[in-house]
Amino acid sequence: MSESRRRVVFVVGSGRSGTSTMGGALQALGMHVPQPEVRADETNPKGFAESKWVVDLHTELLQRCRVHVSDARPSAWFETGKASASGITRARLTEWLGPQFKEAAGEDPAIDELVIKDPRLAWFLGLWKSAALRCDAQPSYVTLLRHVTEVVGSKKRYYAPGMAGSEFSEVQRTAAWVNMMLHTERATREGRRAFVRYDDMLSDWTVPLFRIGQELDLEAVKGASANDIRKVHQFIDPDLKRVQTTWDDVEVPARLRELAEETWTGLSRLAEPGGDTADVHALLDQVREAYGAFYDEAEAVALSSVVAARREGRQQALDERPPVPDAFTVRARRKLRRTLGR
């Protein structure tokens, strides 16, 4: 009904899948990443194209739902879904998002097209969708696809000991990738969306970006100038693909490997022109159900470890509590106070 020119593109996908490359390319073509941004570091020297406010919000919400960014539990989607349905959080996000769009003023052009990107974003797509609607903006989604073994290899390399996520094993990371990718696909299914393979971005980014511009109706991309195009060429480093691991380098149980491969096959079909079809959705629904059953089984087998960890956590909390004076000391102190008349 609305003929608003406002657009918000949500760049999603597992971390280390080229989401920063996509966010940065859209930014170079003229879309706006709300400022300030998270600063570049050695894991992403060209920057993340991530708004600091967005990262802080997601971190706070994840903490409140007790969900990890790389959570492998299918039930974690219910927890973040609940947080996304909160009226207060929806109003808070809308209040932030609205002023990011701007009318043209003097020499400053209007800001009608935004890019929101954060590896935590997929957990809260319902929340963002509502904020976009409330700001009269059309939401759309770009999901980056990179083979799970490369993602796991890249995380292993860049999330060095002491960094967030370093406590996880290859098995957990593979499971978390399956969980993230299958549910991200489900969350974006009814929306306007595109899937882009990381390899396609690096080999010739003009093909997927041109398609995204057309399919998601993005003025900045459709009307990109020669200078904008040059900026993207300068931004995308052809040597970016620094990690090329295969199943030979990633050791996981056979069933998990099968599920990860089925996920990859299904998602890759979505990245083909005209590939976003009902039969692929049905296939991915089956894989999602199978992953849920696999996870339940693994959780049931490992229940003793969960109970033991809970017990250990309780004990640790008790150990860290400041010492409570024993009853004798308390009585002696009271008596001394009475004697001294205090």
Partner: protein
């Protein structure tokens, strides 16, 4: 088909639950029990087809072509394969005193009627919905998300609704004085069936079920000023303690008929731009762009649901 007046036999309307035959399929089914909703369904059904996995519509003896219109809308929206149409030609007791006097195991009871209607659900989650409630654009998105997020959670979801009295194609009055909150979305299973309450039926759920409250602005409840909205009640004397929502609706209805809409606190007049129907305008645009909070939350005790 007009409702039968002879005492109906429960054997003709067996309640056989899908979970007795095996696991339910994932997804959310919306169940409508309707009578003479031909006027509303072209507004109500299209966004619902967008939002949920399946729609069950049980026609309770309509004589205005409700069933035919529902079938036509389903076909027009390419949703015929996700639509189940059933007829329940029994004269069901009206809400209020008549319901109270009807045993719950009689096919005339609202309780029985609801259980029979919901026995057609094959998905793991279900939602009761009224034939006059229109989802907003944000409501569609919320249900689409819940349809897969709720799976295995056992949570129930309450959704606030906003009564909207339609004066003409371009003018409507939205009641934002109160937040009318009612649980609509439930898992399917033996712990989530319908039982009898004083004025109507209620759906049971175990105390361990988590209760999620959806934000405001997800749906409007249509009321047409040119028709009697209270015909399906057995009387129009409402006890404001037991049925405060109905009492408020009656107050608003009377004020609008007497041209006193502006005097009612929380009642908002909305005029659609030229060429756009006010229902489309409110559900697809106005509701999303209106600043929150929407409702005034005036003091009103709500019980009974």
């Amino acid at each position: 088909m007009s409702p039968t007046r002879a005492e109906p036999d429960p054997a003709d309307y067996p309640v056989h639950w899908a979970w007795e035959d095996g696991p339910l399929t994932p997804g959310l089914t919306c169940v409508f029990r309707v009578k003479n909703e031909a006027r509303n369904l072209p507004w109500v059904l299209p966004p619902m087809f967008e939002a949920v996995t399946h729609v069950v519509l049980v026609d309770n003896g309509s004589d205005d072509g409700t069933a035919e219109i529902a079938q036509r809308v389903a076909e027009e929206h390419g949703a015929a394969d996700r639509f189940t149409l059933r007829s329940y030609p029994v004269r069901v007791a009206r809400a209020g005193t008549e319901h109270l006097q009807t045993p719950p195991d009689s096919p005339r009871s609202l309780t029985y009627f609801y259980n029979w209607s919901f026995s057609h659900v094959r998905t793991s989650y279900s939602m009761k919905w009224d034939g006059d409630m229109v989802l907003t654009a944000e409501g569609v998105e919320l249900l689409r998300d819940l349809a897969w997020q709720l799976e295995d959670s056992n949570a129930v979801v309450a959704i606030p609704r906003h009564p909207m009295s339609v004066e003409s194609e371009s003018v409507a009055w939205l009641d934002l004085g109160y937040r009318f909150l009612e649980p609509w979305v439930y898992p399917m299973g033996p712990e989530f069936t319908f039982v009898k309450a004083f004025e109507w039926e209620v759906r049971e759920f175990p105390p361990t079920s988590e209760r999620i409250v959806a934000p405001e602005g997800m749906c409007v409840e249509l009321k047409w000023l040119d028709q009697d909205e209270f015909a399906h009640w057995s009387d129009t004397t409402f006890d404001p303690v037991r049925t405060p929502r109905k009492a408020r609706e009656l107050e608003v209805n009377r004020a609008l008929h007497e041209g006193r809409g502006h005097e009612i606190e929380g009642l908002k007049r909305i005029e659609a731009p030229a060429g756009v129907h006010v229902i489309d305008y409110v559900t697809k645009q106005w509701m999303q762009l209106e600043p929150r909070p929407l409702t005034l939350r005036l003091e009103l005790q709500e019980t009974g649901q």
